[in-house]
Structure formats: structure tokens, C-alpha cells
């Protein structure tokens, strides 16, 4: 288990909040790439699709760190 609280200006922040932000940044890059190749036009509900990708990326990051 490698999860430790992060000291942010004296406030201890849960590691999941940083992972949430990291996953969000990854999804922004993926979303840009998908928009570049018009991939989002192929899905039924783009917002739901992006949300699902976000959950996958976040879970992958958590599993990668935990492993």
C-alpha cells in the first residue's frame, strides 16, 4: 500500500484528491485527441462516454499505484 496523505501548505490532503486531478488531466488530453479524430461523434452519449473514460483512467491510476 503506497497511499500516504500529502502535506499541502500544512494541510494533510487525502491522496485520492490528487489522483482525481491527475485522472482529470489525463482525460483532458484523451478528449482533445478524440475530438481531433472526431471519435466522439461515433458514440451515443459523449458526456456519459467521457465520464466513463474518466472512471476507467482513475481506477487504473489507483490500481497502478496500489500494485
Amino acid at each position: 500500500m503506497k497511499f500516504v496523505e500529502v502535506d499541502l501548505f500544512g494541510v494533510y490532503v487525502a491522496p485520492i484528491s490528487l489522483l482525481l486531478i491527475a485522472a482529470w488531466l489525463v482525460v483532458i488530453v484523451l478528449q482533445r485527441a478524440a475530438a481531433r479524430f472526431h471519435l466522439l461523434d461515433l458514440v451515443w452519449h459523449p458526456a456519459l462516454f467521457v465520464c466513463s473514460v474518466y472512471m476507467i483512467v482513475l481506477s487504473s491510476i489507483v490500481l497502478a499505484i496500489a500494485g
Binding site: 500544512g10 494541510v11 494533510y12 487525502a14 484528491s17 452519449h45 458526456a47 456519459l48 465520464c51
Partner: protein, 694 residues
């Protein structure tokens, strides 16, 4: 401006002494800064007073009093006071609902949580049906239940049976906040809504009167050029609704006469509808005949339809609305009594009288605002709830239910200690912004960002400011360091709703108490729950979006056409007031992005429906009655061409019957109604036949 004029103007500016220009700039800056600074100070005073009273009464969570005061404070007095009243009503309803819910599901966690989500859905549904502050009260009833539920829920769901006590305390705290904010605001601000509404009504009155007079003076293709201006006026008239609510909030005497103010809006819409009918008639006539008929009516109209004078700052003013109304009424009566030779001129004269009657209702509103004189206006016309379209309300209710259930499930599965707070704030955002339709996602996102900024500020105040103060005076000064600048930001136009969220959620995150607790972990968890809840609400608007403006506009047009066809089939089942009220509700519900043509089509449908209702009571020979019924049947089937042909046949037969008779078989007025229907059907055939845009 010519080049020479521009150079002269620049020369004048440059020739002005530097000190004068500085003073001018300073004056302009002060004109903007002083009201915003005053609002910041009022907000600070309201919150501190509410917290003082709540601390003095030793209430459990005193910060709810401060939060209420902050939420009720608005840069406009009328809006604040009106919001306060509706907040009181909504809070009580929400508190009663949660007590009942707890009593129904005393030992049933699932039943209680599903019931809470269901109550939220019902409140969102109602909030989407009613408008302005009524909508706010419905949303309040929803999230007050969530606030009380979050206090009585255990670690992972299930009520603890303290619902009644908590409800009484929360309602008391919220009411203290509302009353304190009301005292501070009403004692330091006299409000400008009455003057603002009067200025808006005068402006619209002037534009309609001018535009209408111009229409009568124009001919041929120039008449069509007036259409964009008229359609834009329809949009501006609809936008008067929230200002009227503010005026009602500011003055209890005006509240008693609110139907007169709403009648003024009805008068403006009626004037626009009649103006549209005249334009359609003049366009269909040969140019010289149109000119002759317009001139006949113009001779009866005096020049002084417009406001009496222009005030110094260029805003039109109205010196004597009561005298003007009397004059307009007399002119309208003259036009109604005018002897004319044909139905076309009768139509133009009657519709002109209709425009004047509409403007008279505006003058009634102005007399109330300017001279505090009022005429009676029927209440039942406006007090009925008329739903323009049910679908957006169902979508919003469904979204609210799914969102609350999802957060509840997440809370139970993860056993998140602050999950109940996340439910509360997800509920606040999802209930409050649902009626905003396509703007809901942007607003909810702005709200979440505002809450995030508020959380950072609350952290700084909690851990850097408050530990060094011991008295309430010191506490108030530290609070002022945040509240005054935040109030200033809230009162300026740029992203005001985001700053309002920052102010409104600052206190629940800070949670000031008589014995302050400086536990960083607890603060962090609370802030995360609140920001997370607001984020989930924003996400819900993204995943389950509201109907797009284009779709809403199309649905409103289709529903209008459906109603018109039903009316054409059974005109005796409709009353004119009901029809007009329903059409006004549809006009008000048309999104801002709707095409101007759609507004014109709605006005045309309003006129056609009103004429059909008026014609239903006409007594005719059996054969002629049959032709009229067949014409209405063609309208109901969406066959305008046949309807126009039958109505024209009816008009010709009536004209033939009248030849050589001292008394006409049918009043010219009724024949002019037939003509008005034909004009509208011919002008908007695509809409009446297919319900869509060309």
C-alpha cells in the same frame, strides 16, 4: 459622425483641463464602486447580525442563520425581500415534509432515502413549472428537507428519530437569517425597482406606439421591414416578468395591486398582437388601398400617443398617465364607433382600438407606479397556473431523483463519513439550477467553482484569522475581511452567480460556533463533501442534460398548434381568457434563442384562436353556419388553403346578402374577424399547416 465633427469632438476633449477629466473619471468610478461597496457592507452586517442572534440564543448550528442571511442578500432590495418571503415558505414546507417522511419510515433506511429522493424530484418538478421566486420556494422546500435529513442521518443512512427537534431548530435558524437580512437591507436601502419598471414600461410603450404609428404611415414592402423590431419587442416584453416580481417584493401596497402590473404586460402583448394583425392586413391589400385605409384611421389618431416628454438623461418620462389613459380611451371609443364601408377598414379600425386598449393597460400600470393610482384588474386571469410544456419539468424531476439516489448509494457503499453533507449540497445545486434549462450546467459548474474558492477562503479565515480573535467584534472584523470584498464581487455583473455561490457556501464550510473547532481533518472532509456534492450536481446536468432551446421552442410551437386545432374543432369549450393566458405562458416560456419568426407565429396563433372564439357565438343562416364550421374543420386538419377559400366564400356570401339591405346580415365587425383569420393563415401558412419553420 463626419470627420470634421469627430476632429472637433476630439479637440474639445483634448482642450479640457486634465484635472476636469480626472474628476470625471473619478465620478464615473465612484458611481459604480459606491453601490457595490455598500452592498458588501450590507451583506457583512446581515451575516454578523444573524450570527450574533443565533449565538445569543445558543442554537446548535448557528452558521445556518448566517448562511440564510448571505443567501437572501441580493444586490437589489426587491429581489432580496421577495426571496426572503419565499425562502420562509419553502423552508417550512421542506421541514414538514422531512418530519412526515421520518414518521412514515421510522426504521426503514431504504424507504427513507428513496422517499427523500422522491420528495426532491417532486419539488424540482414544481420548481420547473412555476416561475421566478415561486420556483425558488419549491427548490427550497426540496433542499431544506435534505439539510434536515443530513443532520438526522446516521453514519450510513437511516433516520435517528430526532427529525422534529432538528426541523424546529433549522427552521428557526433559517428564519433568523432571513429576518436579520431583511432588517439590514430594508433599513439601509430604499430600492429602485419601482423606478426601473416604470422606465422599462415607458420605453416599451414609446417603442410600440412609435412603431405602430410608423406602420400606419408606411406602405408596400417597407411594412415587412418593421417585423424584426416588433419581434424583438415581444422578447423585451417577456423579460419584464422578474422585474415585476422585484417591485412586488419592495412594496406591500404594490403587492395588493400586482394584477395591474401583470395586466400591463398582458396589455403590451395584446398591443403587439393587434399591431401584427394590422400589418398582415395592410400587406395583403393593394398599395393604394392600404394607404387610403391607413390614412382613414390615422386621421382619428392624434400625435400624442407617445410619452409626453424626454427627461434629461434621455429616458422618456410620462407626466400624466391617468389623463393620457382617458384620452386614449376616448380615441379608442371613436375608432370603435367609426362608420366604415367595408370589413377591411373595420378590421384596421378595431385592431387600432385594440392596440390603444393594450396601451391603456400599460398606462394603468404606470399610474400605479408613478402616481399610486390603480384600477381594478381581474385576478383570476393571471393567478391560474398555466403550464407551457410539461416535458422539461419531467426531465428535471427525473434527473433530481437519479442524482440523489446515486449520491445516497455512493455514500452507503463507501461509508463516507461526510456523505450526508454531499447529498445536501448535491440536492441544493440540482434542485436550484434545474429550472434554468440549458444554462443549468454552466450555472451549476460556476456554483461548484464558487464553492471551491469559498472553501479556500474559509480555510484561510478558519486557520489564519479566527484563532487570533476572542470577542464577537473581532470575529466580525475577520468575517468582514472576506464578506465585504466578496459582496462587492457579487454585486458586479461579471460571473455574479459564481461569487454568490462563494458567499453562500462560505459559512457552512467555515461552520463558526461559540466554541470554534480547529480540526483540519474535519474541515477538509466537510469542504470535500460540499465541493464534491456540487460537482456531482454539475455532472448530473452534463449526463442528463435539459432539453435544448431549439427543441423546447419546437415543442412549444407544436403544442400551440395542437391547442389551436382542438380549439377550431370545439370552440365552445374555450374561454378567451384561458386561451390568451395559455398563449402568454407559451410566449414567456419561449427560450431567448428562439427564432423571431417563432414569436411572430405564436402571436398569429393567439390572434387566430381569439377570433375563432369570438366567431363561435355568431348566429348565421344554416348554410352559412355550415361553411364556417367547414372552415374551422380545415384549420383543425392543417389545411390553410381550404380554410382561407371557405372563409372567403363565407365573406362573399355575406357581402351578397347585405346588398340592398338597410341592416347587414352580419355585423361588419364579425366579417373583419373572418378577414383577420385569413390574413394570419396566409401569412404563416407553413406554421398552421405543418407546425414547422419554412
Amino acid at each position: 459622425m463626419t470627420m470634421a465633427n469627430a476632429l472637433r469632438s476630439a479637440d474639445r476633449t483634448l482642450g479640457q483641463p486634465v484635472a476636469d477629466r480626472w474628476w470625471e473619471a473619478l465620478g464615473r468610478a465612484a458611481g459604480f464602486a459606491v453601490p457595490t461597496l455598500l452592498f458588501g457592507l450590507r451583506l457583512w452586517a446581515s451575516v454578523c447580525l444573524a450570527l450574533y442572534v443565533a449565538f445569543w440564543l445558543q442554537l446548535d448550528n448557528a452558521y445556518w442563520a448566517g448562511t440564510s442571511a448571505a443567501l437572501v442578500c441580493q444586490p437589489r432590495l426587491g429581489a432580496s425581500l421577495r426571496k426572503g418571503w419565499f425562502r420562509m415558505v419553502g423552508t417550512v414546507i421542506g421541514a414538514i415534509a422531512i418530519v412526515v417522511l421520518t414518521a412514515i419510515f421510522p426504521q426503514n433506511r431504504v424507504g427513507f432515502l428513496v422517499g427523500l429522493a422522491l420528495w426532491g424530484a417532486i419539488c424540482t418538478f414544481i420548481a420547473s413549472l412555476v416561475r421566478n421566486f415561486g420556483s425558488y420556494a419549491a427548490a427550497l422546500a426540496g433542499y431544506t428537507a435534505a439539510i434536515i435529513a443530513s443532520d438526522e442521518l446516521g453514519a450510513s443512512g437511516g433516520a435517528n428519530g430526532q427529525a422534529f427537534t432538528i426541523a424546529v431548530i433549522r427552521v428557526s435558524e433559517i428564519w433568523i437569517g432571513i429576518v436579520c437580512a431583511g432588517i439590514v437591507l430594508a433599513g439601509t436601502d430604499f430600492g429602485h425597482a419601482r423606478r426601473r419598471l416604470a422606465a422599462l414600461l415607458i420605453k416599451l410603450y414609446a417603442e410600440i406606439a412609435d412603431g405602430f404609428a410608423t406602420t400606419l404611415k408606411l406602405s408596400g414592402s417597407a411594412l415587412s421591414d418593421m417585423q424584426p423590431a416588433r419581434r424583438e419587442l415581444v422578447r423585451q416584453v417577456i423579460a419584464l416578468d422578474p422585474v415585476i416580481d422585484e417591485v412586488i417584493g419592495e412594496s406591500s401596497s404594490l403587492r395588493l395591486h400586482s394584477p395591474v402590473l401583470k395586466g400591463a404586460v398582458g396589455g403590451l402583448i395584446a398591443a403587439l398582437a393587434e399591431w401584427r394583425s394590422i400589418t398582415a392586413r395592410l400587406i395583403r391589400l393593394p398599395e393604394d388601398e392600404a394607404r387610403r385605409q391607413a390614412d382613414t384611421v390615422l386621421r382619428n389618431l392624434s400625435e400624442d400617443l407617445r410619452p409626453a416628454a424626454e427627461s434629461e438623461n434621455g429616458t422618456p418620462s410620462l407626466a400624466d398617465p391617468i389623463g393620457m389613459r382617458r384620452h386614449m380611451e376616448a380615441v379608442g371609443q371613436d375608432l370603435t364607433d367609426m362608420q366604415v364601408e367595408g370589413p377591411s377598414l373595420r378590421l384596421i379600425a378595431d385592431k387600432t382600438a385594440g392596440v390603444l386598449a393594450g396601451l391603456c393597460r400599460v398606462l394603468d400600470g404606470l399610474a400605479l407606479l408613478v402616481a399610486a393610482r390603480s384600477r381594478s384588474e381581474s385576478r383570476d386571469t393571471w393567478m391560474k397556473l398555466r403550464v407551457a410544456d410539461w416535458l422539461p419539468a419531467y426531465v428535471n424531476a427525473g434527473r433530481a431523483f437519479v442524482t440523489i439516489c446515486a449520491v445516497e448509494l455512493f455514500w452507503i457503499v463507501t461509508a463516507w463519513p461526510n456523505g450526508a453533507q454531499a447529498i445536501t449540497f448535491a440536492a441544493v445545486s440540482v434542485f436550484l439550477f434545474a429550472p434554468q434549462a440549458d444554462e443549468a450546467y454552466t450555472r451549476a459548474l460556476g456554483f461548484a467553482v464558487g464553492v471551491g474558492i469559498g472553501a479556500v477562503c474559509a480555510g484561510i479565515i478558519a486557520f489564519a484569522g479566527l484563532p487570533s480573535v476572542e470577542t464577537f467584534a473581532g470575529f466580525s472584523i475577520v468575517m468582514g475581511l472576506f464578506l465585504v470584498p466578496a459582496g462587492i464581487l457579487m454585486a458586479q455583473p461579471w460571473r455574479a452567480s459564481m461569487f454568490a455561490a462563494m458567499v453562500g457556501n462560505f459559512l457552512p464550510i467555515l461552520a463558526p460556533a461559540n466554541q470554534m473547532n480547529y480540526n483540519t481533518i474535519q474541515f477538509y472532509n466537510t469542504a470535500l463533501a460540499i465541493v464534491g456534492g456540487c460537482g456531482i450536481a454539475a455532472l448530473s446536468f452534463r449526463l442528463l442534460p435539459s432539453l435544448s432551446p431549439a427543441l423546447r421552442a419546437r415543442r412549444l410551437m407544436a403544442l400551440t398548434l395542437r391547442d389551436l386545432r382542438r380549439l377550431a374543432l370545439n370552440p365552445e369549450k374555450w374561454r378567451r381568457n384561458d386561451w390568451e393566458g395559455r398563449m402568454h405562458a407559451r410566449l414567456a416560456a419561449l427560450p431567448d434563442q428562439a427564432k423571431p419568426l417563432q414569436r411572430a407565429q405564436l402571436l398569429a396563433a393567439l390572434s387566430v384562436g381569439a377570433e375563432i372564439i369570438a366567431l363561435r357565438s355568431v348566429r348565421l343562416q344554416r348554410r352559412l353556419e355550415l361553411i364556417l364550421a367547414l372552415a374551422f374543420d380545415a384549420i383543425a386538419r392543417g389545411d390553410s388553403q381550404v380554410a382561407i377559400a371557405r372563409l372567403s366564400t363565407l365573406d362573399q356570401r355575406l357581402a351578397l346578402l347585405d346588398e340592398g339591405r338597410p341592416e347587414p346580415a352580419l355585423d361588419l365587425r364579425e366579417r373583419s374577424r373572418i378577414l383577420a383569420i385569413c390574413d394570419a393563415l396566409a401569412r404563416h401558412r407553413e406554421f398552421f399547416d405543418e407546425g414547422g419553420l419554412p
